[in-house]
C-alpha cells in the first residue's frame, strides 16, 4: 500500500512542476515526471507475491510469474512519452528562437 502512496507523491510533484514553475524547460521536466509516475504505477499493479520475471527460457520450469501484460503496455506508453517529449522540446527551442526568453509569464501574446 505504501508503494502506491509513493507513486501518488511523485504524481503530485509532477503536477506541482507543471503548474507552478515559470521556466519552459522545467514545465517539460514536470510532464516527464508525470509520465514516469503513471508508468511506475502501471508496473507496480502487475506485481504478484513470490512472482518471478515473466521470461521463458529453455532449461527452467517457472511456475509463478508476475503479470506480463502491463510490461508490454508500459513499453508502449514509454515510447509515446518519448515522442511527446521530443515534440515539446522542439517547440520549446523554436519558442526561444522567436521570443528570446524561456519565461512562460512573458510569452503571453494570445489573450482575451
Amino acid at each position: 500500500m505504501s508503494i502506491y502512496l509513493l507513486c501518488l507523491i511523485i504524481f503530485s510533484l509532477g503536477i506541482y512542476c507543471v503548474v507552478r514553475k515559470r521556466n519552459v524547460i522545467k514545465i517539460i521536466i514536470g510532464v516527464i515526471i508525470l509520465e514516469y509516475a503513471v508508468n511506475l504505477f502501471f508496473v507496480l499493479v502487475a506485481y504478484r507475491v513470490n512472482g518471478r520475471a515473466p521470461i521463458f527460457s529453455a532449461e527452467q520450469e517457472v511456475l509463478n510469474m508476475v503479470d506480463p501484460l502491463p510490461h508490454a503496455l508500459v513499453l508502449t506508453a514509454i515510447v509515446i512519452g518519448l515522442a511527446t517529449t521530443a515534440l515539446l522540446v522542439g517547440i520549446a527551442m523554436r519558442l526561444y528562437e522567436k521570443y528570446r526568453t524561456f519565461d512562460i509569464t512573458k510569452i503571453r501574446e494570445l489573450k482575451g
Binding site: I27, L73, I80, L110
Partner: protein
C-alpha cells in the same frame, strides 16, 4: 468469418499507408503530395460509406486482429455508432484536404502537412473502431501528438505559443485517461471493453467506478474542451492554419473527446444518475460560458473557437439527458456541428487567404468581392444559430424538446438563451465581415481559387440538406442505429461476444 469484416482494419491501414507513402514520394515530385493525399482520403470516405451499408446488412461486426479471439486478443468493433462517427470523420477529412490543395501553397513543405494530416486521421479512425481500452489510448495519443505538431505548423510566434500550451495540457489530460485505464485493469484484469463490462456487472464495485469516472471525465473532458477544461482551445484553434482549425474544431474534439466519453461511460462502465447529472451540468456550463465569452471577441477565428465550446456543450447536454430523444439530438448535433463549424473555419481561411487579416474591425463589405464565400458564410451562420430549415435548427429543436420532456426546464431555458446569443454574435460577424460598405483597401480582393470554392460549396450543400437525415430510411441506417448502441448500455458486451463466434 465473413468477408465483410475485412474492411474494419483497412480504416487504420489505408490512412497509415497514405501517410508514409506521401512522406516517401513527397519531397521529390511536385504534384505528388496533393494527389496522393486527396486519393487516400477519398478512399477512406468510400470505405466509411460501405461500412454504413455493412452494418445495416449484418448488424454488429467484430474483427479479431491476428486471429486471436477476445478476451485474449485485440478486437475491433463496427456497430451503429462506429459507422456514424467514421462517416463524419472521413467525409470532413476529404473535404478539408480538397480545400488545402490551394490554401497550403503559402506554407513550405506541403508533404509534411499531408503526412501529419493522414497520421491524425489514422489516429482518429483507430479511436473509433477500437474495441480494446489500451488500443483506444494508443490511437488517442497518435492523433493528439499529430495535432500538436500541426498546430505549430507555420512556426510563427503565436502558433508556437499556442502549440506549447495545447501540448502540455493535452499530455496531462491523456495521462489522467491512462490512470483511469490502469485502475480499471487492476480491478477487472482484462482490457477488452466487452469483457470489462461483463466483469464489472458481475463484481459490482461502486467505489472504483466512481474514481475512474472522475478520472475519465477529466481526461476526455480536456480533449473535448468542456468547461472547466477548455483553456487550451481559444489559443490553439485560431493560431493553426485554417484547414487544421477546421479539422481540430470540427472533428478531433468530437472523435477523441465526445465519442470516447460516450463509449466508455455508456457501454463499459454503465451510466448512472450521478454521472448523468455531472455531464448535464458541465454541458450546460460550457454552453453558456462559451457563448458569453464569444460575443466580445473581435478576432474572427477566436470567436469561432469560443462558439465551438458552446456547441460541444449542446452535444454533451443532449447525451447527458439519457433519454432516446436526447441522445438522438446530441448525436445529430455532433454531425451538424462538424459540417457547419468546418465550413465557418474554411470561410475564415478563405478570407485570410484573400485579405491577410483575421480582425473583424478591419474587414468590411467583402460579400461584393467574394460572393461565394459570403453566401456560404451566411448559410453556415444561419445553421449554427438554429434558423429553419437548415440542419442546426432541427438538432437544437430536438435537444430542447428532449430537455423539456425529461422535466429539466432550467436546462432547456439556458439552451434557448445560448441559441439566441449565438444568433446575435453571428449577426455581428456577418455585418462586420461581409455586409456593410466595402473599405477602399479591399478593392483589389478577388475570389478564392477553385478547390477552395468546391469544398465550401459541398459543405454548404450538406448544411441545406441536413434535415433530410431525420427522415425515413436514412434515419434508420444512420442515426437510429447510433442511438440504439448507446441506449443498450452494457448489453453491448453480450452483443459483441455473440458477434465473435
Amino acid at each position: 468469418m465473413m468477408p465483410a469484416e475485412n474492411i474494419i482494419p483497412l480504416f487504420v491501414a489505408v490512412a497509415l499507408a497514405g501517410a508514409f507513402i506521401v512522406a516517401l514520394a513527397g519531397g521529390k515530385v511536385r504534384w505528388a503530395p496533393d494527389a496522393l493525399g486527396n486519393l487516400f482520403t477519398l478512399a477512406l470516405t468510400v470505405l466509411s460509406v460501405v461500412s454504413v451499408l455493412a452494418v445495416r446488412q449484418y448488424g454488429v461486426l467484430v474483427y479479431s486482429v491476428g486471429a486471436w479471439k477476445p478476451p485474449v486478443g485485440i478486437a475491433m468493433v463496427l456497430d451503429g455508432l462506429t459507422s456514424f462517427m467514421l462517416v463524419t470523420v472521413n467525409l470532413m477529412a476529404f473535404i478539408i484536404t480538397v480545400f488545402s490543395v490551394n490554401y497550403m501553397e503559402k506554407y513550405t513543405s506541403k508533404w509534411k502537412f499531408y503526412c501529419l494530416f493522414l497520421l491524425m486521421v489514422a489516429g482518429m479512425n483507430g479511436v473509433i473502431i477500437s474495441g480494446d481500452m489500451f488500443n483506444l489510448f494508443v490511437f488517442l495519443e497518435i492523433a493528439s501528438v499529430a495535432s500538436y505538431a500541426l498546430v505549430a505548423f507555420g512556426t510563427e510566434r503565436q502558433e508556437l505559443e499556442a502549440a506549447f500550451k495545447y501540448a502540455v495540457m493535452g499530455t496531462v489530460g491523456s495521462l489522467f485517461t491512462l490512470l483511469g485505464i490502469v485502475f480499471l485493469y487492476s480491478y477487472t484484469s482484462t482490457l477488452n471493453m466487452a469483457d470489462m463490462a461483463q466483469v464489472l456487472i458481475q463484481k459490482g464495485g461502486k467505489d472504483i467506478t466512481l474514481m475512474v469516472s472522475v478520472l475519465f471525465i477529466m481526461g476526455f473532458g480536456l480533449k473535448a474542451a468542456l468547461v472547466p477544461f477548455h483553456a487550451w482551445l481559444p489559443d490553439a484553434h485560431p493560431s493553426a492554419p485554417a484547414p487544421i482549425s477546421a479539422m481540430l474544431s470540427g472533428v478531433l474534439i468530437k472523435s477523441l473527446g465526445i465519442y470516447a466519453l460516450c463509449r466508455v461511460f455508456y457501454n463499459v462502465i454503465g451510466i448512472d444518475q450521478a454521472v448523468s447529472s455531472v455531464l448535464l451540468f458541465l454541458g450546460a456550463l460550457s454552453m453558456v460560458v462559451g457563448v458569453f465569452l464569444a460575443i466580445g471577441q473581435w478576432d474572427f477565428k477566436r470567436l469561432l473557437a469560443y462558439h465551438s465550446i458552446s456547441q460541444i456543450g449542446y452535444v454533451v447536454l443532449g447525451i447527458g439527458l439519457g433519454t432516446p430523444l436526447g441522445i438522438l439530438g446530441g448525436l445529430f448535433h455532433l454531425f451538424n456541428h462538424s459540417v457547419f463549424k468546418s465550413l465557418l473555419f474554411l470561410n475564415s481561411g478563405a478570407v485570410e487567404y484573400s485579405t491577410g487579416t483575421r480582425d473583424l474591425k478591419e474587414m468590411g463589405g467583402l460579400a461584393s468581392k467574394m460572393p461565394l464565400t459570403g453566401t456560404t458564410s451566411l448559410i453556415a451562420s444561419m445553421s449554427i444559430a438554429g434558423i429553419p430549415p437548415f440542419n442546426g435548427f432541427w438538432s437544437k429543436l430536438i435537444i430542447i424538446i428532449a430537455a423539456v420532456q425529461a422535466g429539466r426546464y432550467g436546462y432547456a431555458f439556458w439552451a434557448v438563451v445560448a441559441s439566441v446569443l449565438t444568433l446575435a454574435s453571428f449577426m455581428k460577424v456577418m455585418k462586420y465581415a461581409f455586409l456593410d460598405r466595402l473599405k477602399e483597401k479591399w478593392n483589389a480582393v478577388k475570389e478564392v481559387p477553385v478547390f477552395m470554392k468546391l469544398s465550401m460549396s459541398a459543405l454548404a450543400l450538406i448544411c441545406i440538406l441536413g434535415g433530410v437525415l431525420l427522415v425515413g430510411a436514412l434515419n434508420d441506417a444512420f442515426l437510429e442505429r447510433a442511438t440504439d448502441v448507446l441506449l443498450e448500455g452494457t448489453k453491448y458486451a453480450a452483443i459483441v461476444f455473440k458477434g465473435i463466434g
